[in-house]
Each structure stands twice: as structure tokens, then as C-alpha cells.
């Protein structure tokens, strides 16, 4: 096992990969180190995130991180979602990530924040 069972599993069978019809917020960003791209789509309701999907051309770590983040963001108040940080993801990913790959974990976080900012949901 290269990274962790969670990463392998989510890379091979992501649960929240795809498009969200009628999304309220869409944001996309690139990791300048590797050119990886992640796009997150959100449905917002009652000050919270009702649903989330991601798409992207990215490595296993980034893919697993985005999938976990979509899962963790769903059902959360916007404030709570904004408070999610790298440690929350690292704990769930269950892998030691080398410094050179840490941006693979954090890119989806950056994109989520961008999506919320784009619709003015972020303060």
C-alpha cells in the first residue's frame, strides 16, 4: 500500500465525483506545482451546504482529499465548512503525506473556499 487504504479506496471509487445539476457555486483552481485541476460544485440551502460534487484531473492523494472534503462539507453550515483545515483531512486520509505532496491535500480546501467566496457565502 503506497499511501493508505482510505486513499486507495477513494481514488478507485470516489463517492462524490461528478457534476451537480443546478449548482449554486462552482469554483476551479490549479496546483501550480503539478498542474492538477480540481473543480467543486455546491448546492447551498439555509446557510449550509446541501450537496457537493467534485471533478478533476489529479493524483490519488488529491482525488481522495477532494472526495473526503465533499463528503465532510455536505450538511455543514458554511461557517463550519470554512473552518475545515488540512488536519481534518489528514486525519481521515490516514496517511503520512510528504511535504512535497501536501498541496495535493490542500488544493480541494482552497477550491471549496473559493466556491463559497464566489457566491458571497464566505465572510
Amino acid at each position: 500500500m503506497l499511501y493508505s487504504s482510505v486513499i486507495s479506496e477513494r481514488f478507485r471509487h470516489p463517492r462524490f465525483f461528478g457534476d451537480l445539476d443546478g449548482a449554486d457555486a462552482v469554483f476551479e483552481d490549479v496546483n501550480p506545482l503539478c498542474g492538477d485541476r480540481v473543480r467543486i460544485q455546491l448546492k447551498l440551502a439555509n446557510g449550509g451546504i446541501a450537496d457537493a460534487r467534485f471533478k478533476g484531473d489529479s493524483c490519488a492523494i488529491c482525488m481522495a482529499s477532494a472526495d473526503l472534503l465533499a463528503e465532510m462539507a455536505r450538511g455543514r453550515a458554511v461557517d463550519e465548512a470554512l473552518a475545515l483545515g488540512p488536519d481534518d483531512l489528514l486525519t481521515r486520509l490516514g496517511a503520512t503525506i510528504r511535504p512535497s505532496r501536501i498541496t495535493c491535500v490542500t488544493l480541494p480546501l482552497q477550491v471549496l473556499k473559493g466556491a463559497l467566496a464566489a457566491v458571497g457565502a464566505a465572510r
Binding site: C34, G35, S58, A60
Partner: protein
């Protein structure tokens, strides 16, 4: 005897273990490892000789100056330049290209045109982008066609009386393509344009003669050719250098200075402001000596054989997609590929577990990645110390990858 047979023992780093496995270093195109001869030259310089160059009236200063200028002579001979004044030391290829872009930039007018290619490393693209933006000039790019060669017909159509500069890689750092620089120079000159060749991936791997190529400028880096980091070379044709204003000002590049004006120094120092990277230049001299002793014809033949073997073995793996020309005769010492279903960074990470160092990502060539329709690629690249057994080890590791992730 291949170069590797005689060279392998010269590279102390090859004794290292990575993740408990012997290091298989296939990332020389990013930066080469250093033979003991280069490491010793730098150490000896610092231990016995170091002082500032050109202005010190003491023994150490004179010795350091002599060493630095001796490196210039070695480089001149190595690349076949006509005169030592045509060899300018920079901090690397990137700085060399920026130097030219800024010096020529002063003469560029709105509507002038610069031609690059779709396969350029960012270091031979961004300086020209910036120049065109600043001066209102137009940037055009020669398309990449087929399995990764330049569209020379399109190139001819891009040339016009407005073309001032053509900037092209001698060898692509991703595709490995050896571009027909002689032909490009001929056509550019007919259009009245200057030609800058990025030779970072050529000089370390094949015989290069700048006079035969005919380019006006030729840039390369020390650290990719067994030398230290922090030093590069800009070759410039004297006739062209003489009519250019210096790119940057400072000490060393002047002859006489008043408060409101100055007289520029002679070539090559006019383009070398500030204290140069003396120790890296001394190390580069040792690297040039080392490569000359092995012989660049032999280095080229050795690496072409490795390239051929890599292409052959990778082609046997149905999961591997190869980028760039399949003909090793027109290919430098790099092979780029992807493994179906796996991201290049994951492949590189997996190979690292086996002690294999490869490059993965966009290789500072994002427009080319877009052209290839990929986020990035894996790239294996070779040097004098690379042996066929390492290529076999790489291809074997690749066939087991899917089980590891």
C-alpha cells in the same frame, strides 16, 4: 566499454540507498549528479584559492581570476565558439535567456514579432511574453505536430520582415525531440531575425558546435551537465553582442564611471555585472574537462542506446503511453510517458519506493502539456553513468505499479 563503465565509480551519490534500495537516478534532465572531479575542483577552490576576481591585487585574487577565465576558455572550446569574448557566464539558462530578452528588448518596437515554439520550456517562453507585453510586440508559436516535431512549413509562414527574434529549444525537455536548428537558423536569418537556441538539454548530451549551428545566441546550464548549480552560459555572436546595450548594470561591466554616465566594459564582462558565481564557474570548467575526456560523441551514442532500449521496453507494456518521437536518432536523452489510470505524480511516488528517481508533472512546459492533452507526464532521463540494467529495473517496476496503489 560504454561511458557508464568508466564513469559510474566517479559519482559518489550512486552509493546512496533510497528506501533501502540502490539509487536509480533517472532525472538528469532536471539536474545531473556530480562526479568526484567536479566536487573536488569546487572544494579545492574554496580550500586553497577563493577571493574575488578581476580587481584583487593579491595572489589569491589573481589565482581565482585565472581559474575563472580558464573555465571560459574550456567552455569556448567545448561549444566551438570562435572567441572567448563570446562566452558570457550567467546564473543559468533562464538568466541567459532573460539577459538576451532584456538587451534586445530595448530595440523592439510595437508591431515587431517574436517567434517561439509550442514545445518551449517556460524559461524560453515567459521572458519573450514579458518582452512582447512591455514593448507592444506580437508573440507567435510554431505548432508541434505528429509525434512531437515542429511544423516547419508553419514556421516559414510565421516568419516575416517583422520577425525580430526566433527562440527555440535545441532539444525538447519533454519530447526529447532534437529540433533542426541549422535549418531554423537559415530561414530566420533570411527573414532578418536573430535566433536564440535553448541548449539546456543538448549540451550535456551530444556534441554541440555553435558556429556550425549558426545561432546568434545559445544558452545552457552548468548543473545539467555534471557541473554545480548557479552557473550558466550565454554564447553570443560577437557581431551581435557588440551592438547590444548591457541588460543589467553594476560593478565589473564598466570601464569608467561618472555620476551621470559610464562607459561600458569590453566583451564579455559588459554582460557580467556583479561578482560572478566563481566556484560554480570553476566547477563547470571541471565538468567540461570531464565530459571532453569521456568524449561527447561517446556520450551521445551511449545515451541514444539507452533511449532506444527505454522505448523498446516501454512499448511492450500496454498500459504505458509514450510521448515524443519513437525514433531515437532524432531524440535526446529523455523519454516521457504515462501509465494508464495513474497520475504521473503517483507513478513517481511509487517508483521512489523502489529507489528510482524520475520527474513527473508539467516539466515547466504547460502549453505543450495542453497540446498533448495531459496534466503532466512521467519523464526518465539519462546521463553518462546510466546503465541498461537501470532501464530494465524501471520498466519492471512499472509493470507492477497497479498492485501497489
Amino acid at each position: 566499454m560504454t561511458p557508464a563503465d568508466r564513469c559510474r565509480g566517479d559519482f559518489p551519490i550512486l552509493e546512496r540507498k533510497i528506501n533501502g534500495k540502490p539509487l536509480v537516478y533517472l532525472d538528469s534532465a532536471a539536474s545531473s549528479q556530480k562526479p568526484r572531479q567536479v566536487i573536488d575542483a569546487v572544494r579545492r577552490y574554496y580550500e586553497t584559492t577563493h577571493a574575488n576576481v578581476h580587481r584583487s591585487i593579491h595572489t589569491l585574487g589573481e589565482e581565482a581570476t585565472a581559474l575563472l577565465e580558464a573555465s571560459r576558455d574550456k567552455v569556448r572550446e567545448f561549444i566551438g565558439a570562435a572567441e572567448r569574448e563570446e562566452v558570457i557566464f550567467t546564473r543559468g539558462t533562464t538568466e541567459a535567456i532573460n539577459l538576451v530578452a532584456q538587451a534586445i528588448g530595448r530595440t523592439i518596437k510595437p508591431g515587431d514579432e517574436v517567434v517561439v515554439t509550442e514545445m518551449e520550456h517556460h524559461s524560453n517562453l515567459i521572458p519573450w511574453q514579458m518582452l512582447c507585453r512591455d514593448r507592444g510586440a506580437v508573440l507567435k508559436a510554431v505548432p508541434v505536430i505528429g509525434d512531437g516535431v515542429l511544423d516547419l512549413e508553419a514556421f516559414s509562414r510565421l516568419l516575416s520582415s517583422r520577425t525580430r527574434v526566433v527562440a527555440v529549444a535545441h532539444v525538447s525537455n519533454v519530447l526529447g525531440t532534437i529540433n533542426p536548428v541549422g535549418e531554423i537558423v537559415k530561414r530566420s536569418r533570411a527573414a532578418g531575425a536573430l535566433v536564440l537556441v535553448d541548449g539546456a538539454q543538448a549540451v550535456p548530451h551530444m556534441p554541440v558546435n555553435v558556429q556550425r549551428l549558426g545561432a546568434d545566441f545559445y544558452a545552457f546550464s552548468g548543473h545539467k551537465m555534471l557541473g554545480p548549480t548557479g552557473v550558466g552560459v550565454l554564447y553570443g555572436r560577437r557581431a551581435v553582442l557588440e551592438r547590444l546595450e548591457p541588460a543589467w548594470g553594476g560593478g565589473e561591466m564598466i570601464k569608467e564611471v561618472w555620476i551621470d554616465h559610464a562607459q561600458w566594459n569590453d566583451l564579455p564582462w559588459r554582460f557580467e555585472p556583479g561578482t560572478p558565481p566563481i566556484a560554480p564557474i570553476v566547477g563547470l570548467g571541471a565538468a567540461v574537462e570531464y565530459l571532453s575526456e569521456v568524449g561527447m560523441e561517446a556520450v551521445g551514442a551511449h545515451e541514444q542506446a539507452l533511449c532506444r532500449l527505454t522505448l523498446e521496453l516501454l512499448a511492450k507494456n500496454d498500459d504505458v503511453i509514450i510521448y515524443g518521437p519513437r525514433n531515437p536518432e532524432i531524440k535526446g536523452a529523455v523519454v516521457a510517458f504515462n501509465v494508464r489510470g495513474l497520475h504521473p505524480h503517483d507513478v513517481a511516488h511509487l517508483l521512489d519506493q523502489e529507489g528510482i528517481a524520475v520527474r513527473a508533472g508539467h516539466h515547466c512546459a504547460m502549453p505543450l502539456m495542453r497540446r498533448l492533452g495531459v496534466v503532466g507526464t512521467v519523464r526518465a532521463s539519462f546521463s553518462v553513468h546510466t546503465i541498461p540494467g537501470e532501464i530494465e529495473f524501471l520498466t519492471k517496476a512499472l509493470s507492477n505499479l497497479n498492485l501497489m496503489l
